[in-house]
Symmetry: C2
Subunit: 364 residues, 2 copies
């Protein structure tokens, strides 16, 4: 088994083998142009076609209608955290509403508060960030500029259930760590964004999907680079985009479309992977504890511990000998974390669960 397939990192995640093979070839020379992808101009016809294909693949995978714009940007979610209130919570709108459900959503709401007065409408601190609210049952001030949440909390391993109704205000979701892991009712959202380095490709590119009607509220006078309209009007080519990262993202969407067969198929694979891992963890009884309470367990990130740091370290060392890497928990909560992003195979998860079982037998 290729060691790349045993990468459970929560940060820049694993990429499909066929994508890596294409990428390696493209560094030498793109079959289409004879030039390395690293030397291709962002104004070339080749790159125009790549941008178009990336957008079209996303539209097709998500069933996204034309009243949403799709743009590729730099700066990660952290730049979106600042740009969203700058663009969509101008004068005439009430303070935007934020759900604080974990490490990343808290960062989003803290950054928003630096830009505009904002409000936290649900705070997971009381549950130790082990539970989540129902999006359909939150009470939201209808004057709020928007409601923001993070659909999957990568650090704590929590994942929201999709909203069943339209929210009373525009709904904005950071889907960085579960984007394209399953089908999505995009019509519930006014904006969805996701940085690449989980399911989409290498770090350095962020996808923003924005309902065009939301653009009307952008105030005049923002710096051009921080105004979503700039990126949309210039087809993601206002300034030099991260050509390489967008190229790999395109390969990943091609893989999802042609090799996996779409998001329903991807969801079935992801369900099997997470079921396999959670069932193993439960079967180990008191030897392990899972951070998230059961109803909000993430299919993408499984945060757990063997009870103390010494045992966690011992397991990581054993796993590493079998080529299993990337299990370190996030520095903010410690413990272990297995991330099951799209490119992590069922075989890799099986190897991980077997390693867990052996470890617990040896240390029982």
């Amino acid at each position: 088994m290729n060691p790349n397939q045993l990468n459970f990192s929560g940060g820049p995640g694993a990429l499909p083998e066929s994508v890596l093979a294409h990428t390696r070839q493209a560094i030498a020379a793109l079959p289409e142009t004879g030039i390395s992808v690293l030397g291709m101009s962002h104004r070339s016809e080749w790159f125009r076609d790549i941008l178009l294909e990336a957008e079209n693949n996303l539209r097709r995978l998500l069933g996204l209608p034309e009243d949403y714009a799709v743009v590729f940007m730099q700066g990660g979610s952290s730049l979106q955290f600042a740009m969203i209130p700058m663009n969509f919570a101008g004068e005439g709108f009430g303070p935007p509403a934020y759900i604080d459900s974990g490490y990343w959503s808290k960062r989003a709401s803290l950054e928003a508060a630096r830009v505009r007065p904002s409000q936290v409408v649900w705070d997971g601190a009381a549950t130790g960030y082990r539970e989540l609210p129902s999006l359909d049952r939150l009470e939201i001030d209808p004057a709020a500029a928007y409601l923001h949440y993070v659909s999957n909390e990568t650090v704590e391993g929590l994942q929201f259930a999709a909203p069943e109704r339209m929210a009373p205000v525009p709904l904005i979701a950071d889907m960085s760590s579960d984007f394209l892991s399953a089908p999505l009712r995009t019509d519930r959202y006014s904006m969805i964004y996701a940085h690449a380095q989980k399911n989409l490709g290498p770090s350095g590119v962020t996808v923003a999907i924005v309902k065009r009607s939301l653009l009307e509220r952008i105030p005049a006078g923002l710096p051009a680079i921080l105004d979503f309209r700039t990126h949309i009007a210039n087809g993601s080519n206002y300034n030099t985009p991260p050509v390489f990262a967008i190229y790999v993202l395109t390969l990943v969407t091609r893989w999802l479309r042609d090799e996996i067969g779409g998001l329903e198929a991807m969801q079935r694979i992801n369900q099997r992977k997470s079921r396999m891992l959670y069932e193993t963890l439960e079967s180990l009884g008191d030897a392990v504890s899972i951070h998230a309470s059961r109803p909000w367990r993430s299919q993408m990130n499984v945060a757990f511990t063997f009870g103390d740091a010494r045992l966690d370290q011992a397991f990581m060392a054993e796993a590493r000998e079998q080529g299993i890497v990337g299990l370190e928990g996030h520095r903010s909560i410690g413990g272990l974390r297995a991330s099951l992003y799209n490119a992590v195979t069922e075989g890799a998860v099986r190897t991980l669960t077997q390693a867990m079982e052996s470890f617990c037998q040896a240390h029982a």
Copy 2:
């Protein structure tokens, strides 16, 4: 000759062959870790070492003392255009001074004007952007927050002479297209920045070198992601950095350090390349015209035309048959442009000059 060596693109430019070879290997698996560079965590020891090496290589190449911070960011020069006035032209400072010497510096000053009142202290429009001022002879209001200029105008092929004296106000330079092409008196500057896709590596990463004393004037309350202190305090790892682009940048600085032997050596090579091309163009007499007036001709970008669009197209077609690509002039001024970034070899320039001579003989 490898076709990659004949890439004269002004956008993402050519990369050294040895860097491409290492990069191809790293996509498969890094020798150090056995994992693809695209799957490496930005919190790994490996990446911490890469960040340190990138910084140290830059410090050594430039002879940069500790009172300058070095950070790697996203967003290109366009984001710097907005961040610089936000950070360094707060209350208590007069309007920052901008030199409008071409396409890119104009974009910088227009973006600054959206953020803070600013002033244009020299405007190249009257010369058709064919000439530049002397940095030492400009009259600058000593109350101006800073003086900003673009050291090399990529589009027009203009390059400033280095300042011989300290400017009366902090000097900030966008060196995106001539950074690391020659030694630099860094002590003349309060800030230098450069995005990667010319001499440094693939697009998606921007280097900012900031004198630490300048950080004291950053106003409170900026969004964290737009505050230089955030990136400096977190060692360029506040949010997920563009790991791949920074890795390739590190390889490029290693190549400059070990294979080229430093910036003096690089400068000699670049001088020979640009001399060869300008001498050929001059030898062709009226058949070609060079955009820039002689004293301000750039060593990095040579903008010229065979007189009309039909001839320019004909030359590009002939050149393409010999594997010479990337000669399209910038869309804003048309014509042709040969970019002679560090990785373009003397052999490639010779091939180009020979193609020019053949073309002129055939069309005389």
